[in-house]
Structures are given as structure tokens and as C-alpha cells.
């Protein structure tokens, strides 16, 4: 299938089964360049599983996944990252023994294009690449307001900053598609507002396409033009925030049978 103009990510009928459980069933999603799409649903609806499928952590039992027309099926996570997909994790997964700066540097590993001999020998090529990494890491730290804590251990940062660092780290890989898994979890209203601005801002600054999983309705409704709702692994609704808010199936899924 040739890539259609402007389509970045194309998921067709993606499904995965764990034993008898259909965690995700017949999931379709087509994202245009620059879009910010929200993915919501009750706990255990399969949202994170969608991320794990896209990033190659799990392989779909059925369906096809394309990024810029290139098939993602069967690729390992690190290959998919190299193709331009980065993610954050629901339960923040920073490298706990590394400093804030090294966490950002860790994302630049992918651009080193060095061999083991370069690294051991430390020749010109190494100095040039390593210098670039230092510079780039500094820039990212500056942009995300983390320069002041660059040498602190990453896990000693306050929660909100850890989330920010995780986004900075994901951007270090220079993705075209960013997957954010509940970035507002555990944040206070003030932090949430800041986060929303940050997401909007990085989308423009880095020309990103973003898929966002979020529990907090105010965040999703506030920044996403298009929202998908998953329940029991199936897409039950798709549309603008207004449409989603009024969708009877969504209300049922969130409030239970009693409300309907």
C-alpha cells in the first residue's frame, strides 16, 4: 500500500489475544501528520496494549500497522524507535541510576552511529559525535527547564518534573510520532494546566503527531480535537470532544449500566 498523503500512522484491524482474553480487538486508527488524538477508556480497556502493539513490545495476532507506509509488524522495539516512534510510560520508567542529564543522553544513543571501536578508541569521530550529544542534551534540558537539576539522580526529582523529563527523553530520539501514556496521572490541577500547554507547545515546536492516553477528561477534552474510546479492547466511539461527551455508549462505559 503506498503511503497516502499526510497519513503518518495507519493501524488496520489490529488485535491481540492473551490466552482467551482479547485485549485489543479490531482496532483501527489513522492519524494525519500533526494531529493530536486522545485515546480514552476505563481501566483495563486495552489502551496501553495499543501502545505496546505500536512499539513492538507485543506482536498483534491479527492486523497491520504502518508508519509512513512502512510495515511495523514483526519489528523489534528499538527498530520502531529508529523509524520515529517514541513513547512515555504510564508508570514513569526513567533510568533510576542515571542522572537527569544521562537520562536525556540515553535517548541520543540512537543518533550516535558509532561502533564499539570508536567508543573504545575515542578518536575524532567519537569526539565529534559525543560533542554533538552533549550539546543536544544541553539544549533539551534547557528547553524543558531541567538544566538546573541536570546532575541530580533522575528518580530524586519531584513527580511532575519526572514526567517532564520523560517527555524530554522521548523527544531526544527525534520521533515523528509521540505516544504519551497518562502523562497527567498524579498531577495537581496546576501541573495539569502546565502539562497541557507543554504538550501543545512541543507538538508545534517539534512538528509532532501525538497519540495521548489519558484518564483525566479535562486534559483530553482540552487539547484533543479527535478522541477514540476503548472499552474491553473494542473502539466504542470516535469523534470530537463534543460528540464523545454525548455518546451514549461512552456514558454507559464510564458510568455503568445504572446510568443508562
Amino acid at each position: 500500500m503506498p503511503p497516502e498523503n499526510g497519513v503518518l500512522l495507519d493501524l488496520n484491524d489490529c488485535s491481540i489475544q492473551f490466552g482467551g482474553l482479547k485485549a485489543v480487538d479490531g482496532f483501527d486508527l489513522r492519524m494525519s501528520k500533526g494531529e493530536l488524538v486522545g485515546l480514552i477508556g476505563p481501566n483495563g480497556a486495552g489502551k496501553t496494549t495499543v501502545f505496546n502493539l505500536i512499539t513492538g513490545v507485543y506482536q498483534p495476532t491479527r492486523g497491520e500497522m504502518l508508519l509512513k507506509g512502512r510495515r511495523l509488524n514483526g519489528l523489534k522495539t528499538h527498530r520502531i524507535t529508529a523509524l520515529g516512534i517514541a513513547r512515555t510510560f504510564q508508570n514513569i520508567r526513567l533510568f533510576s541510576s542515571l542522572s537527569v542529564r544521562d537520562n536525556v543522553r540515553s535517548a541520543l544513543h540512537i543518533h550516535c552511529s558509532l561502533g564499539i571501536w570508536d567508543v573504545v578508541w575515542r578518536g575524532k569521530r567519537f569526539a565529534e559525535r559525543e560533542g554533538w550529544v552533549q550539546g543536544r542534551a544541553g539544549e533539551l534540558l534547557e528547553i524543558f527547564g531541567l538544566a538546573g537539576v541536570a546532575n541530580e539522580p533522575a528518580t530524586s526529582l519531584p513527580y511532575g518534573m519526572q514526567r517532564r523529563l520523560e517527555i524530554a527523553r522521548a523527544l531526544g530520539t527525534e520521533p515523528s510520532l509521540l505516544l504519551l501514556d497518562e502523562p497527567a496521572a498524579g498531577m495537581n490541577p496546576h501541573e495539569k494546566r502546565e502539562l497541557m500547554q507543554l504538550i501543545e507547545w512541543v507538538r508545534e515546536r517539534f512538528g509532532l503527531t501525538i497519540l495521548l492516553i489519558e484518564h483525566d477528561m479535562s486534559v483530553v477534552m482540552g487539547i484533543c480535537r479527535r478522541i477514540l474510546v476503548l472499552d474491553y479492547g473494542v473502539t466504542i466511539a470516535e469523534g470530537s470532544p463534543e460528540e464523545i461527551r454525548r455518546h451514549p455508549k461512552v456514558i454507559e462505559a464510564y458510568l455503568g449500566e445504572a446510568a443508562s
Binding site: 512499539t55 513490545v57 523489534k76 522495539t77 528499538h78 524507535t81 529508529a82 517514541a86 513513547r87 510510560f89 520508567r93 526513567l94 533510568f95 533510576s96 541510576s97 542515571l98 544521562d102 543522553r105 540515553s106 535517548a107 541520543l108 544513543h109 540512537i110 550516535c112 558509532l114 564499539i116 570508536d118 567508543v119 573504545v120 575515542r122 578518536g123 567519537f126 569526539a127 559525535r129 559525543e130 550529544v133 527547564g145 538546573g148 537539576v149 541530580e152 539522580p153 530524586s156 526529582l157 519531584p158 518534573m161 527523553r169 522521548a170 531526544g172 530520539t173
Partner: protein, 349 residues
């Protein structure tokens, strides 16, 4: 410390700036080590000198195992197996092919010291490479297995290697391998030590080599950052095994006799204890722990029978009270500082 550190960095910048700098650094290192070699072998009494040599060999072992266990987070307790392969391979080379090789070197004008040095370098590399090949073989299960399982598989590999050697007649089998030429001197031990420390440090401190520690901290996140985790795990095993092989070759050509009893899993445990005591992921820690744990048994010689009891109790107490090891934090020359630095954030917003 920061003054010394700055000076060291200046030296290093000069040494890596150009080929001339590099050659100069190499020449200076060799010259210093040769002088030390001559001086120490004459000044020190044979007993102290022997301990010094064993310290050096243990440093090579501990630092190389630290790459696998400390920096990459794989748990290998079969390092003695790699050491055995290197030791026996190099010994076989110098004993069986050595005379012919020396004659050939002499024929092209490389007689005497230079010829034996060349032969020994080749033997060291041969031992290292063969061990590295075994490391590749052991590294492959590490892709699938974690923690305890990997530990027991590496232990199993180590034992299999030992049993296989025991059954190889040309390596002496149960009688041991006698008559190895004594090529190991202070120079080669120290030089290997310097090389292993530099190589491991260069690997783990670069942005490229951050991948080792990323794999240790969180494999899933590492893969999401574009790290080929498979590659780095296997690489850690191959490089670690290579240096263990070199250590084995040094060991064999120092004792001039090899027996598989030197390479049981007790030896592997010993190396693990050095790494743990020094601190997982601290190079300087491994170096210091290797020295301590080589000297300590000698000091405890008078209470020989309590020695191992003391050792094992030490290990347990260490785990219960300070699992990050003695030198897990704040060490000079940026060699460590990696494992547990739990300072409060002072300037956090």
C-alpha cells in the same frame, strides 16, 4: 580531588587529540610500567611480589565481570569458566606452538625478548578471543533469561567448561597442565589492568555505552529509546569474557601450571564477591575490592580455618546493611559514582 581530576582530564585530552598524543601516551605508559617492572621485581621480596601479581590478575577479572554484572545488570557466576578457557588456550599455544613460533620470529630477526613478547601477546589474544567466543555462546541465553535463571546457567556453563577440559587429554586432564613457560611479568599484568579499566570506562561513560546501564536499569525503556538490548547484553558478555580469558592466560603463564581445580565455581564466587564488595557499577570499587580480597586472605593466614567463615559472613552482612557495596558512591576519577547517589535535590523547582 577536583584539581587532580582536572589535570587528568587535560592529560587525557592531549592523549586522545591526535595520533601523536596517543602514541606518546602509550609510550609513556609502557616506559613507566617497564621501569616499575624492573624495579618491583628486584625490590620486593618474592612473596609480596606474588601477591602483587595476583592482585593485578584479580583486578582484570573483577573489572571485566563488573561490565557484565554491575553495568549491564546480567548476573553471571561463571567467570572462572572464561578464565579457564583463556588460560588453557594460551598455555596450549605457547607450549605446543611456542618453540616453532619463536624459531620463526628469530628467523625474521625478532629474537630474544621481543620474540617471546610477541608470542605472549599472540597467546594472550588467542586466549582472550577463545574466551570471548565462549562468552558469545553464554550471552545468547542471556537474551531469554533473567536474574536467578541466568545466574544458574552461567554457573552451569562454567562447570561444563571445566568438565570438558578435564576430559581433554592434550590439556592434561585431571593431572593438570605442567610446563607452561613463565612469560607473565609485572609489565603484562599491569598493562592488562590499565587496558581493561580504560576499555570499560570508555564504554560505559560514552553516550553510546550508556546503553549498558540503560539495559540494567530498565530493559523495556532502553528498547523504547532505540537500544538494541540483545546486542548490548551479548556484547557485555563477549567483552567481559575476553578479559577474563586474558586474566586466565596471565594466570597460567605466571603459575606455569594449570589445573581445573583453580576454576571451580568457588573461583567464580570469589570474583562475584569482589564486584559486589566494590560496588556494582563502580570500576574503582572493583579495583580496590580485588586488591583487598587478594591481600586479606594472606593477612588472615594465621587464622586460616576462620578465613572463609569470615568471608561469607562479611558478604551476608554487606548485603543486609550496604547492598550497593563499599565504593558504590562518590569515587575519584569519575570511574564510579554510578550506583547509588541518593542526594536530596537542592535546586529542584
Amino acid at each position: 580531588m577536583s584539581g587532580a581530576r582536572r589535570a587528568w582530564m587535560a592529560v587525557e585530552r592531549f592523549a586522545t587529540a591526535s595520533l601523536v598524543g596517543r602514541l606518546a601516551a602509550l609510550a609513556v605508559t609502557i616506559a613507566v610500567l617497564v621501569v616499575l617492572d624492573r624495579a618491583l621485581s628486584r625490590l620486593l621480596n618474592p612473596y609480596v611480589f606474588r601477591i602483587l601479581m595476583l592482585c593485578g590478575i584479580n583486578i582484570v577479572l573483577a573489572v571485566s565481570l563488573n561490565l557484565i554484572n554491575g553495568f549491564t545488570g546480567q548476573f553471571s557466576i561463571g567467570h572462572a569458566g572464561f578464565m579457564a578457557i583463556g588460560g588453557y588456550a594460551a598455555a596450549a599455544m605457547t607450549t605446543y606452538w611456542g618453540p616453532a613460533a619463536l624459531k620463526a620470529f628469530a628467523a625474521v630477526g625478532l629474537a630474544g625478548g621481543i620474540g617471546t613478547s610477541m608470542l605472549f601477546v599472540l597467546a594472550l589474544l588467542f586466549g582472550g578471543l577463545l574466551a570471548a567466543a565462549a562468552g558469545l555462546l553464554v550471552g545468547i541465553p542471556s537474551l531469554r533469561l533473567r536474574g536467578d535463571y541466568l545466574a544458574i546457567v552461567t554457573l552451569g556453563f562454567g562447570e561444563i567448561i571445566r568438565v570438558v577440559i578435564l576430559n581433554l587429554d592434550f590439556l592434561g586432564g585431571a593431572r593438570g597442565f605442567p610446563g607452561i613457560p613463565r612469560y607473565t611479568n609485572f609489565f603484562w599484568v599491569a598493562f592488562s589492568g590499565v587496558v581493561v579499566v580504560l576499555v570499560v570506562r570508555n564504554l560505559v561513560s560514552s553516550a553510546y555505552g550508556l546503553a549498558f546501564r540503560m539495559v540494567r536499569d530498565d530493559e523495556t525503556a532502553a528498547a523504547a529509546m532505540g537500544v538494541d538490548t540483545t546486542r548490548f547484553k551479548v556484547m557485555a558478555f563477549v567483552i567481559g569474557a575476553f578479559f577474563a580469558g586474558i586474566a586466565g592466560a596471565l594466570f597460567g603463564h605466571y603459575l606455569i601450571y594449570l589445573h581445573t581445580n583453580s576454576f571451580t565455581f568457588m573461583k567464580s564466587f570469589e570474583i562475584v564477591i569482589m564486584v559486589v564488595l566494590g560496588g556494582m557499577g563502580s570500576i574503582i570499587g572493583s579495583v580496590i575490592a580485588a586488591i583487598l580480597l587478594t591481600i586479606l586472605p594472606e593477612l588472615l593466614r594465621s587464622v586460616q580455618q576462620y578465613r572463609m567463615v569470615f568471608y561469607s559472613a562479611l558478604l551476608i552482612v554487606l548485603m543486609l546493611t550496604r547492598p550497593q557495596g563499599l565504593f558504590g558512591s562518590g569515587t575519584p576519577f569519575g570511574l564510579g559514582r554510578l550506583w547509588s547517589k541518593r542526594r536530596e535535590v537542592r535546586r529542584a523547582a
